[in-house]
């Protein structure tokens, strides 16, 4: 039963609960008209304490396509937050007006704090470099749609594995499926944190190897998950400039990959995927963005308990 629950961490829901969300998302994809009034009379609050385009639009489009309405702010300066209001007060006030809340916040754990005080479901839309569970749902639905299931796969994750919250959440979520082989592709400075290796990869018995280049791994991959090196996570601009173009996936590298490998990316991209790759049938990052909206529709419907 997902009605009334919060989604803060990708592990908050069991694999079976996730399957019910994915099943619903697939049904929405097939018959969107059946769900166009599911959330009529319901309001979703989007509390974005940090700029975001696609995640906020994706949630807002999801709610609107379910027939619901949206209130919220896209930057804290335009809300009472700028007057120094606490997260606990904001969420309890918003809960008087809305049926569910989506929160993005630069501080790690902020949506968790909101969920502790909130009488309505809180969805974490990204908290600093920590978690981004609806991106994980998006990624899992994309893999399930394209590959048919979520087991028995070699998944390469490339780029900023140190600060990349989408990668951390994805690895956590994949650890619950069978026979997942991970290939971690990153420069030394952006290697995955030790705790992900020790507490997730090793504890769950996932096979994993770490390499420096795309070329040495791409041939064995079923999925290549590219990520952007995020300027906003660096304290030092020089380090960012040195590392931002460390990986660029282009046609030449794609020639080394399997015919049925898919390329995913949480977007936005900067330079890490050359535009020439967009026309390759294995480029799935734009369909992935669309699945993101459908999976958010399914999530909202489940948390609100609507048909």
């Amino acid at each position: 039963m997902l009605k009334g629950r919060h989604l803060i961490d990708p592990m908050d829901f069991t694999v079976e609960e996730l399957e019910t969300i994915f099943d619903l998302a697939e049904d929405i994809i097939e018959k969107p008209e059946d769900y166009s009034k599911s959330c009529e009379g319901k309001i979703l609050a989007t509390l974005f304490y940090e700029p975001s385009t696609r995640t906020r639009f994706s949630f807002e489009a999801a709610m609107m396509r379910l027939g619901g309405q949206v209130i919220g702010f896209s930057e804290p300066q335009s809300s009472s937050v700028s007057k120094g209001e606490s997260i606990s007060d904001t969420i309890r006030t918003i809960a008087c007006y809305a049926d569910a809340a989506v929160m993005r916040h630069p501080k790690e754990g902020a949506p968790k704090v909101a969920s502790v005080f909130s009488p309505i479901p809180v969805i974490n839309a990204g908290d600093g470099g920590h978690q981004h569970p609806t991106q994980t749902l998006t990624d899992l639905l994309t893999i399930r749609r394209v590959k048919g299931n979520l087991n028995n796969m070699t998944v390469g994750v490339c780029g900023d594995l140190k600060f990349g919250r989408t990668v951390h959440s994805l690895i956590k979520a994949l650890s619950r499926y069978e026979n997942i082989n991970l290939v971690l592709i990153s420069p030394e400075e952006l290697m995955i944190p030790d705790y992900i290796i020790e507490e997730i990869i090793e504890k769950k018995g996932m096979t994993c190897k770490q390499v420096r280049t795309i070329e040495e791994a791409i041939a064995e991959l079923d999925i290549l998950y590219m990520t952007r090196v995020q300027r906003e996570r660096f304290f030092n601009e020089e380090d960012y400039i040195r590392l931002k173009d460390f990986y660029i996936l282009d046609e030449k590298k794609m020639k080394l990959a399997k015919e049925d490998m898919i390329v995913m990316h949480p977007l936005p991209r900067v330079n890490e995927i050359a535009y020439e790759v967009d026309s390759d049938k294995r480029a799935y990052y734009f369909p992935q963005a669309k699945y993101g909206m459908y999976v958010r529709m399914a999530l909202i419907a489940k948390l609100l308990g609507v048909k």
Binding site: I87, K107, E108, G109, A110
Partner: protein
């Protein structure tokens, strides 16, 4: 071994890891006690090699959770009428609240001051805890 008179009514904190006795002594503020207290250091121990002990000639109350963080190996022995009435072994607490603060500058607890600092145990052997909110790792080496 130095002879310390036995206790009629009080507490013995036994099996303290050698060197941590003084930490526990300070934590319990026993330097301000107006009753007899003995801190015995480097006592020979079959199990531990060397250990510290504290004998308190009074029943005092303290937070065993925090004591467990200083040294999870200790045994608390309560004595009444010269007899042991209770022996309890401490373990690392599964969760601690407001004992230490999260050091991660990106953690929400750094700005939302009313939020309790909650840590949960992830590795007993390494004494590792994680912040409930941001998952930052902390190793307790004293309170």
């Amino acid at each position: 071994m130095i002879k310390i008179t036995s206790i009629e009514k009080g507490i013995v904190i036994d099996h303290i890891t050698a060197g941590l006795g003084i930490e526990i002594f300070k934590y319990l503020k026993l330097d301000n006690a107006n009753f007899s207290v003995a801190l015995i250091m480097n006592v020979n121990s079959k199990k531990q090699g060397k250990k510290d002990m504290i004998k308190i000639d009074n029943i005092i109350e303290f937070d065993v959770t925090e004591l467990g963080l200083i040294d999870p190996n200790v045994t608390i022995i309560t004595i009444e009428n010269g007899e042991i009435i209770r022996k309890s072994k401490l373990t690392l607490p599964a969760q601690v609240e407001n004992v230490i603060k999260c050091k991660n500058p990106r953690c929400v607890t750094s700005v939302e001051k009313y939020v309790d600092h909650v840590f949960y145990l992830v590795d007993e052997e390494k004494r590792e805890y994680r912040c409930k909110y941001c998952d930052e790792k902390t190793v307790f080496k004293g309170v």
